[in-house]
Amino acid sequence: MNIATPPEKLTAKDFTTDQEVRWCPGCGDYAILKSVRSTLADIGVQPHNTVFVSGIGCAARFPYYMETYGFHTIHGRAPAIATGVKLANPDLDVWVVSGDGDALSIGGNHLLHVLRRNVDLQFLLFNNEIYGLTKGQYSPTSRPGTRSPSTPLGSVDNPVSAALFALGAGARFVGRSIDTQQKHMPTVLKRAHEHKGASFVEIFQNCIVYNDNVFGRFTGKEVAAENQINVEHGKPLVFGKDGNKGLRVKPGALELEIITIGENGVSIDDILEHDETNLTLANLLAAMEPPTFPVAIGVIYCNPGPTYVESVRQQKESTRTKRGSINDLLRSGHTWQNG
């Protein structure tokens, strides 16, 4: 008897390797790993068609724990390697996993270019505002004043905002989430996966050993509601523990301000709706920081455009007249017969 069984639905376990996970106990990376596994199972991706590419750092260990194809490469270069993977086989579903040092110091140039080229892949930046793997030096996203082995008196240089960098580089998808938000993160990851082109996702990740609670100012239980805003396309930009605060464009200025429903005659209609295709709004949202503003999470910007590898392939196909033979190639141009 031949009973056709429907393909079994994959679970997070199917994306789990037999390798012992080597992050410090309590590291935010565990939660992200869990989220990614369950998201992939939910989406129903084919493990053999999925590739995780990473550079070097704690975050970059990620591929070893995913039962897919995985390439743990060198510090900062994962976007370049992933670009090569896509150039060779555009059908592969490619995810890049990177840390703040990997993506924004040594690999800043490659991140810039993978985003502006719009290579079709998901780029996950685990931002812990520190160099975890090398034992806690400050990173390009560390707040000024960060005390670390290399900055014992506190860092003095200005940090870069990952999301603003991505928007500036021309990313057409910028999302944000937080390691501990197991409900929220999959929604952003799914959107990132759906998006054709380079999808940049910044995930605030707690390094419990070298930078514990650095995001406490907006992730802490008591402050989260007041200091976070989950942005959703087409929905009013409201937040606050009573859900009565909102954002709007300050009259007469190119900036946002916080207003409260019920105060000064403000109603829900006065609150700005999120338009994820609006680059100016995306920049304003990405720049928000406590204590003045809540931190924006969710899909901040999504505005699809032509992707690099597809364009390259199409261009080649359109000019290709036939499959060339090497003999023809060698005989192209001027030749002459001797004897």
Partner: protein, 622 residues
Amino acid sequence: MAVTAEHVEEDFPRQEIESAVIRFAGDSGDGMQLTGSQFTLATALQGNDLATFPDFPAEIRAPTGTTFGVSAFQINFGSKGIQTSGDILDVLIVMNPAALKVNINDLRPGGLLIADIGAFSSRNLTKAGYSENPLEGNSLEKFKVLEVDMSRLTKEAVKEHGLTSKEALRCKNMWSLGLIYWMYGRKREATVDWLKDKFKGKPEIAAANIAAINAGHAFGETAEMPAEVNPYTIPAAEIAPGLYRTVTGTEAAAWGLAAGSQLAGLEMVFCSYPITPASAVLHTLAGMDNYDVVTFQAEDEISAVCAAIGASYAGSLGVTSSSGPGVALKTEAIGLAISTELPLVILNSQRAGPSTGLPTKTEQSDLYQAVYGRNADSPLVVLSARSPSDCFDTAIEAVRLATKYMTPVILLTDGYLANASEPWLIPDFDDYEPFPAKFHADPEGFHPSLRDPETLGRIWAKPGTPELMHRIGGIEKSFDSGHISYDPENHQKMTDVRTAKINGVAADIPAQAVECGTESGKVAVVGWGSTYGPISRAVNNLIEDGHSVSHIHIRHIWPFPANMGDLLANFDQVLVPEMNTGQLITVLRSEFLVPAEGLNKVNGQPFKIFEIEDAVRERLER
């Protein structure tokens, strides 16, 4: 093939000569490279053997009239096997005083200098650093000098085509070409066709250039020439019958890479970041729409090599190309390809260094970098091409070894090879044996560190293959499972395997042959890369004189062919000419304990035949 000038009914006698070395020299804007390559084509079509040496400044538009803006193209052509672009000039054509100043020392006494006196204005003389006009003093006494106002004659010739004076002057290179065509009895058709095609959209420019060529040619036919200016004829060389073309090292390397990929049954992903003199390979491949080649201009050399590695990981052939400074940037990633055992071809068109050095001048000084220049024990295969056309076969060999042994291969060419051209008996590609790459697909007992017991090459399991999901990376891997391993014994084993794999290539390559001369004797002249021409000619000359000298030229630099040590031991003395301060020689001494001696120079110019002959003679007299 009969050698005839264009007008068979020429009423003057042509003097028959065996070969000639001529150089066109002018301002970067004077079109000397185009002039030279057209002369090359016409000469090849005439059946002569030839070798060229384009030599141009690093600046794109150096200030006009200055000595550092001088661009030159040299060609040696003749009826007997031509091996080099020539030691010394028979004819020098200069388009301005600066070109005279820079090049006159290379003209042989009694040689012919042709100067465009129209460009010898006091302003140009000053710019070239002359306080008085050298054409007027007696400093050029030992040469024959033909002074022609090419600028004026060109303007007159193209008058009817309505060009601006500046545009008209730009045709003077074609005027000079016409004159030289007449002198050596070359045909103009190919250049005329080329001009028509190049200026398809601008017929008046094409017509003017053609008029300039014809005028230069007519000048030769009709003008009263000084007695010593003879028209020559150079009989066709005895070259093997078959279909020929001219080819530069750049073209041959690009085509060889594409050909190798086809033999391996792979698409090539070619990733590069522009750098002189390597960029032209990217340009050539980018234009090959009909071939299975994808090109990627990366944001830097690191990205280029990384994208190539990513492409190889995903089942294409990743290739990257650069010059020394760019290869330096790629070093860390090459280590990753060694560690993950992925195929990768790195083409290095060497140039003079260190640092930016002399970007447009040739040198062979990246051999250490190729063989030794990485952190840790990181062996790979190093090959070098000896001539422009040899870049084709060497590139194919690079692809073969990279895919068979799952290893990076560095292919060394140099600025001279990249730009120089030579006639090439076009091979029949059907004669090349395919070497199809194998992709692993069997899940039974699979792990990513499985290797071919014979070659020790790791399996190639590309993403997309069902049931073979696995992880690889730059951390040391277990020999038995491919998983991360920090076990010291395993590291010893993996290091040994990586070394043995590359050493094993020696058994898969031809034994080192002797190019000319006997298998043993007094002096072996051992070379690699573009010194092939001058060494070959020098050694042949010495053998003709009855000396015991042999020429050994190495393609496989790492690992060496298995017989290398024994072969070198057959000679009393080993001389290693190199355009560096002595790199191959160090490797030879260290591998084979031979008391080799070096002959070294780094002046941006290829070796002259006599330099090598002299060095050998000195040793023969010992």
